[in-house]
Symmetry: C2
Subunit: 213 residues, 2 copies
């Protein structure tokens, strides 16, 4: 507590070791199949130490999930400012970043964990949604509103369009990945290109060159 920051080698901080171990095991085996013994062993501490920092297995799970949500939240920020780009290029950039994010093992396992324990931790559903998919949706919506203000796209319900653009990108890739059926990476480019073409065709005010293909 008192010594929070070390300028050099960061504090091993048992509580963080425990959290890291819990994260790894919850992700790998799920909540039910992960024991506090296993977490303590992996963290290299005793079980009593685990309980000194987290009052129960559920509290540890909640702490793990919320930290993970914060991390995903940070990773979900758009990689660069796409405001200046042409519409198709901006959408393509967004699309690639989005698919990479939602298909990452980190995101998928977190989603699985939260969905799995939703009966036990209902509030985690909202926390996760606001951290990841809701946040991305808000970003894209904001971009579309800006694009509309700049005359790149016509009048539309930007929230709905953003949701459908992200949905078209998802296709069935996300649910397949969620179910453990990993998609061929080669498909990703085709998916993004087609989704971009789809939305440019419908919403773009000026179609600079041609539709997608």
């Amino acid at each position: 507590m008192s010594e929070r920051d070390n300028t050099e080698a960061e504090t091993p901080a048992k509580s963080v070791l425990v959290l890291d171990a819990a994260r790894a095991l919850f992700i790998e085996h799920g909540f039910g199949a992960t024991s506090m013994d296993a977490i303590a062993a992996r963290a290299g501490v005793s079980k009593a130490t685990v309980y000194a920092h987290y009052a129960s297995k559920q509290a540890l799970f909640a702490a793990t999930t919320q930290r993970e949500c914060r991390r995903v939240h940070e990773r979900m920020a758009l990689p660069q400012d796409v405001t200046g780009l042409p519409l198709a290029q901006a959408l393509s950039t967004i699309g690639h970043a989005f698919l990479q994010a939602i298909l990452s093992a980190q995101n998928l396992t977190l989603l699985r964990m939260v969905a799995a324990e939703l009966p036990r931790f209902p509030e985690l559903g909202t926390i996760f949604y606001d951290s990841a998919p809701g946040r991305t949706l808000a970003s894209v919506r904001a971009y579309l509103e800006q694009a509309r203000a700049h005359g790149l796209i016509g009048d539309c319900d930007c929230a709905l369009v953003a949701a459908q653009f992200l949905g078209a990108l998802r296709g069935d890739l996300q649910i397949r990945a969620l179910l453990g059926i990993t998609p061929a990476v080669a498909d990703i480019d085709a998916v993004v290109d087609e989704a971009v073409a789809l939305f440019v065709t419908r919403y773009a005010v000026v179609t600079p060159a041609e539709g997608g293909r």
Copy 2:
């Protein structure tokens, strides 16, 4: 699920009673939090009887999930033949049926269960996918190929278009519902109309009137 009646009160079939009880409890509490004692009690049989029919809790879970997949599989069939309809109307019909299906409590809880226990039962992911989302995708793809053959839509990758159409319908509704954030039902019509307009605009060979609304 309340009454499976036989014409002759012959077989209440304990194995089915057990399966029904297991289904209800797994859905309500998940795999980990459901005990064999509870299942036996709910089915009105002894625990030994449960084990006489299902070798283990895992086997019972697998049997429950697979039966549920078969049921969802049947419900997922398109409600009517849309082949004769105009494109926009056919897509609209498909869209409403699809959203109703994926947002149903039955489908969501099953998806949650399968995702939750994926580490323990990896093969259930594929079974569920083929039963529900994969099956719907195949139906829509088949419809699109027929529509293409009839000249309603131009040349395209029907599998990809089907996936993106269903994805646009999903938007973030499915993931929200999965996370326990139930959407306003009023939105559904707007979502379907906009998605139909989107795909008609891009793919229809003849645009009869205008997009959806």
